[in-house]
Structure formats: structure tokens, C-alpha cells
């Protein structure tokens, strides 16, 4: 039986650039059907477009198994990076963990 309040959380921290590409790729793995997915970047202080590429891949993989994804970003640099890349509409982005969870659970109900 599925737990209706379950959310799978993936957290990354620090500065995420091309030097941590494999680590980001390994962390952002969907692993089949399941609960909604919360990607918590609230402790990320810098990101580059390699993270965006991995996040797009992750979102597409989650779409294929019907898992909703929410992303928490608190770094102004990371937030603007998404805008500069023209991808704000591609992700459901929140600056607060509670809002992201509420979105996922509401969407899943």
C-alpha cells in the first residue's frame, strides 16, 4: 500500500559544477515508479548548467514513470541560472521545503 504522505527526497549540497557532474548524475536517479520526488537544493550555494542538464534528464525520466518532481532552490545564483537558461517553466521550483511537499502531495492525491 502506498503511503499517501510519502515523498522521496534527494538532497545535494555545496557548489555543484562540472567537477561534480557524476555525483549529481548518480544522485538524480529515478529508479522506477514510486512516490513523488523532492529534489532539495536548499544547501546548494552555486550551480552551473551541468546541473540543469542532469535535472532535465531526471525530470524526463520521472515523467515516464508518472512521478511528480518538485525542486527546492534557495540560492539566488542558482535561481537566476534557471532563468538565464530560459527553463523556469520546465520545473516546479519552490524556495521552501514545506511548499514543495504540499505541492507534491496535493498533486498526488
Amino acid at each position: 500500500m502506498n503511503d499517501k504522505n510519502a515523498v522521496d527526497v534527494i538532497s545535494l549540497a555545496g557548489e555543484l559544477d562540472i567537477g561534480r557532474k557524476q555525483e549529481v548524475r548518480d544522485a538524480l536517479e529515478v529508479r522506477g515508479p514510486g512516490s513523488p520526488l523532492l529534489v532539495d537544493f536548499s544547501d546548494v550555494t552555486y550551480a552551473d548548467s551541468t546541473v540543469i542538464a542532469e535535472l532535465l534528464r531526471f525530470r524526463n525520466e520521472a515523467d515516464h514513470v508518472d512521478r511528480r518532481v518538485a525542486v527546492v532552490i534557495t540560492s539566488p545564483q542558482f535561481d537566476r541560472l534557471i532563468t538565464y537558461a530560459g527553463l523556469r517553466a520546465a520545473f516546479d521550483i519552490f524556495d521552501d521545503d514545506r511548499d514543495a511537499r504540499a505541492f507534491l502531495l496535493e498533486s498526488d492525491s
Binding site: I18, Q77, R80
Partner: protein, 127 residues
């Protein structure tokens, strides 16, 4: 303490170069201008140019050098990111290819010279 008007940073074009070059550039920018948003935007744009060099300039088994040269002018900051490898914009991973878009969104001008390697020149108005 006076602020140096220019600085050149050099690294082997391997993935860890991005962090090393950003650390050096951040230290320079911090002394140059107090606006954290401006600093972050410069670091972001330059980081994309460096990532391009790391990913596309050289055979990963035989990486050459990537350099970041920064010149502070009265009203602008001019940054050149250079490598001596081949230039390749085609991305291997779906979703890649945002680097140039990001550079254009941030910098006031972007020019790319592909003669004898790649030189990406970014100009930012100083705040």
C-alpha cells in the same frame, strides 16, 4: 589595499579546474566590487565558458590548459577564457547546450574566436 587591475588564472582543463578557477576569480571580484549579485553573475557566465573548455576543448585523456584572464576597466570587466583545443558546441547529453545561452543572458557582450583554440571574451558593465 589596492586592487589589481588584471589577473590571469591557469589550470589543466579537467573537471576540477572549474572550482579552482572560480575560487581565484571570486577572490578577485570580492576585492573589486561589493555587489554579490554582480559577482555571482560574472562567476556564472565565466563558469559556463570554463565548463565548455573542460568538456569540449581536449581529449579527456590528454587535457591541455584553460586560462581565465580578467581586466578591470573603469566601467567594465573584460574576461577572456582561452583554450588551445578544438571547439565543439554539439552536446552529447540531452538537455546540454545551455552554456552559451546563459553567457549571452548575463554578459553585456560575448564574442567567440575559434582561431587556434577557442577564446571566449565576455564583457560585463561594472555596477
Amino acid at each position: 589595499m589596492s586592487v589589481p587591475a588584471r589577473i590571469t588564472l591557469r589550470e589543466r582543463a579537467v573537471p576540477s579546474a572549474a572550482t579552482a578557477l572560480r575560487t581565484g576569480l571570486r577572490a578577485f571580484l570580492t576585492r573589486l566590487a561589493p555587489d554579490p549579485r554582480w559577482q555571482d553573475d560574472v562567476l556564472t557566465a565565466v563558469g559556463e565558458a570554463v565548463a565548455n573548455a573542460v568538456e569540449h576543448a581536449y581529449d579527456p585523456h590528454n587535457p591541455g590548459e584553460v586560462s581565465v584572464s580578467v581586466r578591470a576597466e573603469r566601467d567594465a570587466l573584460v574576461v577572456e577564457v582561452r583554450d588551445n583545443g578544438r571547439f565543439q558546441t554539439r552536446e552529447q547529453t540531452p538537455g546540454r547546450g545551455h552554456g552559451l545561452n546563459i553567457m549571452h543572458a548575463i554578459a553585456d557582450s560575448v564574442s567567440i574566436d575559434k582561431a587556434g583554440g577557442t577564446r571566449i571574451r565576455l564583457t560585463f558593465r561594472r555596477t
